[in-house]
Point group: C2
Chain length 480, copies 2
């Protein structure tokens, strides 16, 4: 007897090299694992099931993977727009008032948004991750987590300035601070890696080529390899990074990383916003994986990450929602649409980066990028039962056309907003159904959000120095 049988809908299994469509399919699940997938008639006669889900008119597909986000930034959602540069002119100064004890509330808000919109696996990158792991545990989604290992210590800023440092200059590194953050990441790994039958996985998060010394970076790599964990690294996000590595090592960020052996299959390279075409190819050729945070980089920098080039070079690409101060949402449907469309308008062609490739990036691509391709990302026997069900009887999925051409994939990528996600399951457990979370108390959390919002904004607003920021000016002049 199976635990669960899902039938009555169509499947996008994402197995093989396309989208793995199965008309009128079914999925049998037992002890959190997919036992069988295929046409309904092949599956339903195999055995009985304790729970039968009849999802007439629905679509079943692997849960979406948000392969790179900073979950606690929901605290300042929308506070990094219409300004340049975003970090220095809005988000940075405002966030100095963040209240660390409230970070779990903000992380939970991000996870709720993601889950409600079809994400079942989060590649969360935080400083510090500590208490935030418990939010991932609580909501029931899958997580591949890391804590930033960094020698960038903002507390030293006054000292840098006294020594002649100017914004845009390479940041003076703080070795002791780096060692501490590394120790903290190791502690995180020891405490949580493998939790709940592997639902929580810990990897390593060296910050960026210019924010960590070569010595510490190599030490992190060595330790990560010993533990079989990947490296989650911001790569070529900013020209500042290239300037810093050129000054220190005589090489732009990507050639520098290559020179010390960092570009390898265990590297998750996030952004590549400022990578030159040859550098993008180099990262792909070395077998490293790319995360495209398309909306975030588009809004805060006006730049299109090179997802299309990376895929065409044969590389693995996942999608990430990054941070909601500047995205401003944790919604992988929005990332899919932006990724496909930005590629089209950049190429001046409606053919560039078709929907099916982007749908792969949001599922099996993200899974492989996070080193989870053997466990999730497709609906196949032996994989974890991490999946979502969409109601295709509502716009923008209706009408669902099957003949002579199917319209499900383009409508998922170019039109679906996440609002038709009616069920999410992780390792066979339903974590979201018909607008409600099954493991957490949404109302209580939103009450906490309200309290934390008041506490935080009172504190920021009391700092008169922020009044001069462009983001504040937009409100004062009636534009926000």
């Amino acid at each position: 007897m199976f635990d669960t049988l899902i039938k009555g809908g169509h499947l996008l299994t994402m197995s093989g090299d396309g989208v793995g469509f199965v008309e009128q399919g079914a999925i049998a699940i037992d002890r959190g694992v997919i036992i069988a997938v295929g046409p309904k008639d092949d599956i339903v006669n195999r055995d009985t099931a304790r729970r039968v889900m009849d999802i007439q008119g629905g679509i079943v597909m692997p849960g979406l993977v948000d392969a790179h986000l900073h979950s606690s930034a929901t605290m300042g959602r929308g506070w990094a727009q219409e300004v340049y540069p975003w970090m220095a002119s809005s988000y940075g100064p405002l966030m100095t008032h963040a209240i660390e004890e409230d970070a779990p509330i903000w992380t939970m808000l991000a996870l709720m948004e993601g889950v409600a919109n079809g994400t079942t696996c989060f590649g969360d990158y935080e400083f510090p991750m500590g208490e935030l792991v418990k939010q991932h545990v609580a909501i029931g989604s899958r997580a591949v987590l890391c804590e930033g290992v960094t020698e960038l210590n903002w507390a030293n800023r006054e000292q840098w300035l006294a020594e002649g440092w100017k914004p845009g200059d390479p940041i003076p590194l703080d070795r002791a601070f780096g060692d501490e953050s590394f120790a903290s990441e190791l502690k995180l790994f020891d405490a949580w890696d493998g939790h709940d039958d592997g639902r929580i996985k810990i990897i390593f998060g060296p910050h960026a080529a210019d924010f960590i010394s070569k010595e510490l970076l190599l030490k992190v790599q060595e330790e990560a390899r010993k533990r079989g964990a990947a490296l989650h690294l911001h790569v070529a996000q900013d020209e500042r990074e290239n300037r810093a590595t050129e000054q220190r090592y005589g090489l732009r960020a990507i050639p520098y990383l290559d020179s010390i052996g960092l570009l390898a299959p265990d590297l998750i390279a996030v952004h590549l916003s400022t990578a030159l075409p040859d550098e993008v190819d180099l990262v792909a050729d070395r077998g490293a994986r790319m995360i495209s945070c398309t909306n975030s980089i588009g809004i805060i920098d006006g730049v299109v990450p090179p997802a299309r080039q990376f895929i065409e070079r044969g590389g693995v690409v996942g999608l990430g929602s990054d941070q909601s101060a500047g995205n401003n949402s944790h919604n992988i449907f929005s990332e899919m649409r932006a990724t496909a469309m930005f590629a089209k308008i950049q190429a001046g062609s409606p053919i560039a980066l078709p929907a099916w490739q982007v749908l792969r990036a949001a599922t099996i691509g993200g899974a492989c990028a996070l080193g989870m391709g053997d466990r999730i990302g497709t609906l196949e026997a032996g994989k974890q039962a991490d999946l979502i069900v969409l109601d295709a009887n509502r716009p923008p999925l209706a009408p669902l056309l099957l003949r002579p051409a199917r319209n499900i994939v383009p409508n998922l990528v170019y039109a679906e907003t996440g609002s038709n996600v009616v069920l999410s399951m992780v390792a066979g457990r339903v974590i979201y159904e018909q607008g409600e979370f099954t493991l957490i108390d949404r109302k209580a959390i939103m009450q906490d959000v309200a309290t934390a919002t008041a506490r935080f904004t009172d504190r920021v607003a009391a700092d008169r120095s922020v009044d001069a920021l462009p983001i504040v000016e937009l409100s004062r002049t009636g534009r926000h």
Copy 2:
């Protein structure tokens, strides 16, 4: 006594030259018209109300204006992707099997999608409009409708081919067909203009510079001016159009239209996709208004319509969802996000086309573009009570930050998907509330959609000639 008092939320009135934010505002409505708007304390003591809506934590703003759409194309939603050119290689041949009697069902599906996502006014452009008007009447939204006046008669295609015509060549015009369509538009005007206290307004829809002769175009203009109705015209959508006007009149489309006096304040110029920078300025300088169908043109052509340039030149811009075969949704929140972000990545700057300007385009901009700026588009005393309420206690609108900088406008434009729209009102009447339509039977309509889908796809699939289309190939090879 007022009919309705809305209180307990914040307002974006969109009046003035910004977004007209009112913290803790209220709106009094009587007989479909806004009587008073302002801070809650100023409004609630004026008079009592028959119905008080307490929308604690909500945001009230003008209903969104979808200033250009072809509503009945939901029939082929998602059937115009990843192909080039979309009309010839997918949509056109498939749509030859469309069943005209089912068009009202498809239009209703588009309107339901729009209303559920905050649209209260539709600039619908159809061939023929006839029975479709009744759908606009039934669902309760506001409509500015036209029927295409065109001398393009696809029924003559075999004859063109026999005479040596090739795809991309100027289309031979059919004068008698044009006169018929003009007569039909006049009939539409006489039957429906001003219906339901002006909720339904009829304007004139000459098709495009190359699909209608100069003589008929000028006749339509003359008649429209006599009746005080605007002209809704596709302008510079395609290079084919420029080639045709150059061949016939020695001028590209926009200079040709200018030479015969068409570029004037009563012109609604849709698309401008192939307009040169000087031509964009010329259209704006003549006082004509522009509609940007950003997602549609991005997906089907890989082109960014010049909304930013038009606004910077001082022109009025509205947003349109165009047609869902190639968009693939009727969701003005999606159009806002795309319009703001495409401008940014095109400019390589996060400052280009800020959120507040795009929010204006989706409200008062669209209203002015459709010639309705005196009746709708802002929340001001004397205007029609066309408004929406959003629940700001859910992502991506939560947390709602008010101090020191507000985040409502960027979150509406860059993150909101429409799923937080909890109420829509047109002329003081609630047409949508908490996921349900108040005037139509959603379930019965979705049953009709299912029946019409089966009827239509059976018919298309029976035509073996479509098997060779690229869009069909995508399904056959497992990509769709």
